[in-house]
Symmetry: C2
Subunit: 178 residues, 2 copies
DNA sequence: TTGCTCCTCACGTCACGTGAGGTGGC
DNA sequence: TTGCTCCTCACGTCACGTGAGGTGGC
């Protein structure tokens, strides 16, 4: 990771960190900038994921702008399905004396596994999206059920095309098992 | 929901429930058939989502096959992002004296909102999938970092194309903030 | 009788949410 | 001084996991 003068916004925090930082953000500022709660940021600190650059005499946490980059990074990994503990492992990659090759191999393995999971999840979500769409279409036809409560009216449903064989499982399941 | 003689496998449990059921599955059988743990099934019962058809004299829960359908339904809704409490609301749709039209309107609204959320989530996941792919490509180029620990070696990275401006944020974030 | 499954508490985990009671900083 | 934000406990929530200690069923 070579140092250069130009860098995209997402990495702006890095140069600040390297340069020492000025630490003028309070925890509420970071919360607002990242969409997290103050509580969440304090949890990240407890887990060693986000350290304030300094504390005031009164104990107030003071952050520099790299904190915003860091939290965004944490958020992306969370969206990918990494737990905070797993993120700890990734964050510690540069810390020890482990050879760079092995450290990077660990990161690669974690990313590769996650990529496969994400692809599976996307496939499953798209299938479920289809089921949702079909269920909504089916439910449009239920508009005539205004004669009484579901448990009597639905059992006597006369709607064309609404026999059990055509009921989407997201709708039909409402009746199964209880 | 008209009753017919032919029905797809997913709805087979419905007919069993309507016919009275024979309740010959123990909780471990249902767990195996659905991929859930016994603990999870007992939790669903506590929440009123999955009631055993009967109990043996010794207190063993006995289920009929509709339980498998029910659990699959719960699972799909969970995959869509519904909480168990939200699923309770959907499951109770047929229970009260609420007019069918209003009950179905509630289900439609819940499904419509969820459909929008699922589409957003798919979009976000696909963007993150792209970032993961780019990060993996970048990390392929780190194979030469075998001379020492990351915190010294990576700072002096000479790999062509590995300046900060080209570092994917999933990789670069490892260094920001701590 | 052995072995496996089941039973009911009940505490642990994960990523926070939500007060309680008090203090810092402009 | 007022009002807002911050501080540290510490318990609550959600969807289970994980024993502890005991019993049912083939």
């Amino acid at each position: 990771m070579k140092r250069v003068d130009k860098a995209p916004d997402l990495l702006a925090g890095l140069r600040v960190a390297v340069a020492g930082g000025d630490a003028r953000l309070k925890i509420g500022d970071v919360a607002k900038a990242t969409g997290r709660t103050v509580r969440a940021l304090r949890l990240y600190e407890e887990l060693g994921l986000l350290l304030p650059a300094a504390r005031t005499g009164g104990g107030f946490r003071m952050y520099d702008e790299s904190a915003v980059t860091r939290v965004a990074w944490i958020g992306k990994l969370q969206d990918l399905g990494f737990t905070l503990n797993a993120i700890q492992d990734l964050a510690l990659v540069g810390g020890g004396s482990e050879p760079g090759e092995e450290a990077m191999a660990r990161v690669r393995a974690a990313f590769r596994d996650k990529l496969a999971e994400v692809r599976e999840q996307t496939t499953r979500l798209q299938a479920l999206e289809g089921e949702l769409t079909r269920s909504l279409q089916y439910l449009e036809g239920c508009a005539g059920c205004r004669r009484g409560p579901v448990h009597t009216v639905c059992r006597a449903c006369q709607e064309p095309g609404h026999d059990e064989a055509n009921t989407p499982s997201l709708v039909g399941g409402i009746r199964a098992g209880v």
